[in-house]
Symmetry: D2
C-alpha cells in the first residue's frame, strides 16, 4: 500500500532492544530512524561511539553518525518513538513523551496492564488498537505496548483454539533464552550448563497478559478472557528463542486432530500486503518428531512466525504441544515494529 | 549393621552406567566388584584397556586389572549382578542370568513393567521387593529394577503428597540432562545452545512407571496408583541433573503451606544406618528463590537427595514446584546400588 | 561474465558437507544440482527422505525430490561432481569418477598432497589449477582439492606476508569449531564446557598443506614454500569458525605497521565479477580490541572472508595476530564451489 | 608438623575469590577464619546475608554467622589477612593493613611486580619469600603475592625445564576459563558458543611475571630470568581450568624424551608433610592422546596439580606441549593459602 514516510525516534537506543530496533528498521519501507535517545552517559556522542554494538552484522551507516540525545521530548525530531527503555525509567519517560504529543510504541512493561493502553499483537487483537482513543495525556500523544517476550508465543498459539473451541485452562512451562534478560544479563557462570528455574516477574505476566490480549473489546473496554494460566519459567542456555511446553483444556473436549486442524487452518487477518513485517506464516505447524528447536527454527518467518510441534493428547487437560517464538524479534522489537505498522495503516500516526 | 561381604558382577561394565557403578562401588562397605562383562569386542581385555574411562577421577586400581568377560552366566564369578546393559540386549541377557540363578539388579527398562518384577525405590516402596517371590525363572534367580531416570525425581517428590493428601493429576515438564542419553549420546551440534523437545519413549515411561511405583501391594500383586501423569520431555544442554516442573492436583484442595509441610516433614523409612547409600536427606526443600539448579545442587546428598524448590499455588491444579534429581546417580547406578543394599539387608541376597 | 549452465553432481550428498554444498548451490548462477549420490543405505530414496537435514533453513525444493543414487559414475548424470565424501571412501570413489572422465572437485583429504593434484584457493594460488594438465586417469577426468578447514584461514592470512616479506616460521594454535568434526561428530558430553587439546591428523595437515599451497609452480611442478609451520590444535565448544592464534617470523624483521599495511592493502586477484562466490573482502582487518570472535564475525563475507585482528609485536618471532575463518564455508563446501568457479571460468569444465 | 593455630581474616570476603578462600579454609589444620571484610554495603551483616554464595556446597556454618566488617585494620581481629580484593581497591587497602602490622597474603595484582614483594609459588621459588625482609611499612607488616591465574600453570611447567636445560623463548596461547573473570564476569551472551581473543592486561602479565618468578635471588634482590615470553590470551566457554598451549626453545637443543624425562622426574622441594596444601603430584604428565582436558582433569590434586600432556617436537622452537591448571585454586585462592602455609612454617607469621 502507499504510505508516507515516517521519521522515527528510538528511546533506549544503545541497549539490546534498541539495537534490534535499529537492525529491523535498516531497510524499512515506511520508517526512517532520525532520532536516538539514551542515558546521560551516551548523550552528545555519535551512535557508533555510544553503543557497544552486539550484532555480528555491521551497524547501519545512516545510524552510526546520528548524535545520541537525552530522553527529552524536546530533543527528538521525529513523528513517533519506539521505546526500548528498561522498566526502571520507562514509566516517567514514556509519560513525558505521550504528554508532549508523541505516539509511543513501547516494549516496556510499565503501561501494559493499564486499562486504556492496548497490549497489541496485530494478528491477534488488532481491534484493541482503538483503546488509544480512550487515552488522555493532554495532547495527541498515546502509548501502545507489545506483550512480554514469553507471553507472545503462547498467545499466538492460543488464538486459533480460543476461536474454535474456547480455552479454559492453560498450563505452561517456559524454557527461555538468555537474550531475554538483555545485555549483559545473565552471568556466564550462572548460565553455562545450567538451568535457572526462576525469572523475576515472568510467571505473573504469563498469568495476566494473555487474559487481556485475548479479551473482548466491548463498549470501548476490554473484558478479559475467562481463562486461567499457570506458568513456570526457566532460563536455559540458549541464545534466542523461548520454547513453551503448553497443556490446554478447552471449553469442550478436543483431540489432537481438532487442534492440529485449527492451528493449521488458521489464517491471520493480516498479510504482508497489509503490513510489511507480517510473516508469510503466522503459525507454522511442524511434523518432525523433535521440532521445533530454538537453534534450528527460531528464524522461521524472519523471527516473526511462531512454530508449533509435538501436538499430543494430554490425559490431564485435553491436548499438549510446544510453541517456539523469537524473543527479541516477535517477542520484542519486531512485535513493536509490527504494532507501529498497524497504527500507521489505520491512521493513528501522522508523518 | 553387620553384613557379609558380597562379590558383585557388572553387566555392561564399559558403558556410561557401568562406569558409574564402578565409581560408586569403589569403597562400598558391603560390595566388592569381582566380575565385569561387556560385549565381545571388550571380552578378554583388562578393564583399563576395554573401557573409554569418562570420569575425571582415576579408574579404581582394583578394577583396572580385572579381565572383562562376555555376558555369559558361566563366565561371571559373583554373588549377584548389576545390569547397566542397553535395552537392546538387556532382555535376553538378564533373563539368562536370572535363569542361571543370579539376582539381577537392573537399570534397564525391559522388565520394569512386568507384573512380578519390583520397580523399586527403597525409600518409596520398599515393600514391593517382596514381588521377587512371585518370580519363577526355574532357579533361585530374580530381577529387580529401578525406574527411568526422569521418573525418579518425580516419584520421590510425590510420595509425601500421596501419603498426606492423595494425588489425582500430575502435569510435568522435564528438562533433562545430556548424560541421560549415555555416551556418546547427543551430538554436540544438536545440544550446544539448543533444546530438543523430544526424548524417545520418555513421556510414556513417566505416564506409567509412577503408577506402579506408588501402587499398593495387595495379595502379592500391585494395584497401580489411581492418578494420571502427563509429561513433556526436553533435552537441555546440562551435564547432570533432571529438573522437573511439576503441577499437582490432590484428592482434596491443598495449598502451599500444606505441601511445604508435607515435603519438609517427610521422613524416609530408611536411614544410612540401615543402608549405606541412603542420603542424610531424602528430600531437601530449598528456600532460595532460584533453587534448585542442576549445576549447583545436583550433588546434594552425594547425588541421592532430591532437591525441591519454588513451591507455589497453581491456579489450574493445586500446587506447582520444581524437583531436581541426579540422573546418573539417584536415577541410575546409585538407585540400583541402593536397591541391592535393601535386598541384602532383607535377606534376598546370599554371599 | 557469460557462462553456460553446468549440471552438477554431489558425492556424499547426505552428509554435513554434502548438505552445505546443496545450500550454497541453491541459487547459484552457473551450477544446477542434478545428481546426488550417497551410501547404499540412502540409494533409491528421494533426498528429502534420505537426508537428516541439519540446517534450520528449508531444504531446497528442487533437490528434495531428486532420487539419491549410489556413488557409481554410471549413475550420475552431470558435467562434474563435488565430493563431500569422508576420507575412508573418497580415495576409491574419486578415482573411479576421474577415470570415468569426470572433473572431481573434492573436499576430501585423500589426494591433497599428490604431486599433480592442485590444492587450491583461487585468491591464493589460482595458477596451481594448471596442475590438472599433468594428471592422467586414462580419460578427460581430473581431481582438484581444497585444503583442510584449519589450513585455509592460516594460508589466506599468510599470502600477503609471503608476498611482501617472505615468511620463515609460523607458530599457530588453533581453536576449532565442533562442526569441523562433521555430524554427529563430537559428543556433547565431551564438548560442553570443555576443550579437547587434540584433533586427529590436524597438526600434520597444518605442517604440510601450507607449504604446498604457498609453493611456486615451476616447470609444471610445485616447489614447496620454504617455511616451517608448527601447530597445536584444540576443539572448543563453538559451532562455526576456526580461530587461529598465529605468530610469524619473516625473512626480514617486520613490525606491526608493516604487517597491518600488508594485510589491509592486499587485493585479491579475483573479484565477484570474476567468480560469483568471491567475497567483497578477501581479508578483513578488524580494529576492535576483542575481534574477531567466531560467534559475531564468522559470517563476514557470507563465510568467505577471513577476519584478522589483534596484530601485535611478538617478542619471540616478529608479529602475532588472530585469524578467523568459516570452517564449513570457506574451509569446506564454499571453498570447493569457488574452485569449481575458477575451473569453469578458465575452461577446465564443459557443460 | 606441629603448628600453632592462626586466626585468619579475609579481605574481599564476599567476592568469588573470597568465597573460595572460605571453602578452602573450612577444615584447614592450621588456619581458622575469624574475620571477614568487604565493602560498605556488606558491612554489619552476617556473612550468610552479605554473600551471594556461588558454590553448590553449603556455606560453612562457622563462617555463616560471622559479621562482615569494613576493610579497616582496626576492625579485623586476626593474625594475618588473605586479600581477595579487586585491583581497583587492593592498592590502598593492602598498604593500610601492611602499615598496621598485618602480614597480607594477596591474590591481587597491585604489588606483584614491586621489587621487594615476593611473587611466590612455594614449589617454584620458595626462597623468594625472604624478600619480605626488605619491605618497610613502618611496622611488622608485609605483603606477599601469588601470580596471575594464567601465569601459574606456565611457570610450574617451566620450572623443571629451566633447571635442566635453561629456557630462552616461550610462545604460549592461553585458553582461559570464565571463572577467571570473577562473578558476574563475562556475559553469557558473549561466552556461550564463542571465543573472545582478548583478556585485558593478561598478555602483559604473562610476559613479565614468569621472568620475576623464575629469577634468581642474589644479594637480596631478584635478577629476572633471561627469557622472553610471548602470549596470546583467549576466553573460552569453560567453567574452570586454564589450558596453555606452550612452545619452548631451550638454551641447548632438547627433544621430546629430554623434556618428558625432566617433567616426569621433577620432584617438588615441598611435600604435604611440609605444607598441608601441597598436592601429591606437583606436575602430572599424562599419556592419553587427548589429555589434559579442563572438564576432566582440572581437579587433579584437588586443583593444585598442574597437568601436562601432548609433548611433541616443535619445528619452530624445540618442543611444544599443553599444561592445565585450576585457575581459582592453584591460580588464586589455593595458591595464596599455600603461600601462607610456607610463611607460617618459615616463621614469618605469628599466632
Amino acid at each position: 500500500m502507499s504510505m508516507p514516510s515516517f521519521n522515527v525516534g528510538i528511546l533506549g537506543a544503545t541497549g539490546a532492544v534498541g539495537q534490534t530496533f535499529i537492525r529491523l528498521l535498516e531497510d524499512h519501507p515506511w520508517f526512517t530512524v532520525t532520532a536516538l535517545a539514551a542515558s546521560e552517559r551516551s548523550a552528545g556522542k555519535p551512535y557508533r561511539e555510544a553503543a557497544n554494538w552486539l550484532s555480528g552484522k555491521r551497524m547501519p551507516d545512516a545510524v552510526a553518525e546520528l548524535e545520541v540525545t537525552t530522553t527529552e521530548p524536546s530533543e527528538m525530531d521525529c513523528d513517533f518513538v519506539f521505546s526500548g527503555l528498561s522498566s526502571s525509567v520507562a514509566g516517567d519517560v514514556e509519560k513525558a513523551f505521550a504528554e508532549a504529543g508523541f505516539p509511543v510504541i513501547s516494549n516496556a512493561k510499565n503501561y501494559r496492564m493499564q486499562e486504556d493502553v492496548p497490549l497489541l499483537i496485530p494478528e491477534v487483537n488488532a481491534d484493541h488498537a482503538r483503546l488509544v482513543e480512550n487515552q488522555d495525556w493532554g495532547s495527541d500523544g498515546f502509548i501502545v505496548t507489545n506483550p512480554n517476550c514469553s507471553t507472545v508465543g503462547l498467545v499466538c498459539a492460543l488464538r486459533p483454539l480460543v476461536d474454535a473451541f474456547g480455552v479454559e485452562k492453560v498450563q505452561v512451562t517456559m524454557l527461555q533464552a538468555l537474550s531475554g534478560a538483555g545485555y549483559p544479563g545473565v552471568s556466564s557462570l550462572d548460565a553455562l550448563g545450567n538451568v535457572i528455574p526462576y525469572i523475576g516477574g515472568e510467571e505473573d505476566k504469563l498469568a495476566t497478559e494473555p487474559r487481556k490480549i485475548l479479551g473482548q473489546l466491548e463498549n470501548g473496554e476490554i473484558r478479559p478472557a475467562d481463562m486461567v494460566v499457570s506458568a513456570q519459567c526457566n532460563r536455559v542456555p540458549v541464545r534466542q528463542g523461548h520454547l513453551a511446553c503448553i497443556s490446554v483444556a478447552c471449553t469442550e473436549p478436543v483431540n489432537v486432530t481438532d487442534v492440529t486442524d485449527a492451528l493449521e487452518s488458521y489464517r491471520s487477518p493480516l498479510t504482508s500486503e497489509d503490513l510489511p513485517s507480517v510473516p508469510d506464516a503466522f503459525l507454522r505447524v511442524m511434523d518432525e518428531v523433535d521440532a521445533p528447536q530454538p537453534l534450528r527454527h527460531v528464524k522461521n518467518g524472519n523471527g516473526m512466525t511462531v512454530s508449533i510441534g509435538r501436538i499430543q493428547e494430554c490425559p490431564v487437560n485435553h491436548v499438549k504441544f510446544v510453541a517456539l517464538s523469537h524473543n527479541t524479534i516477535r517477542g520484542a522489537a519486531g512485535g513493536a515494529v509490527l504494532n507501529a505498522e498497524l497504527l500507521a495503516r489505520d491512521g493513528y500516526l501522522s508523518a
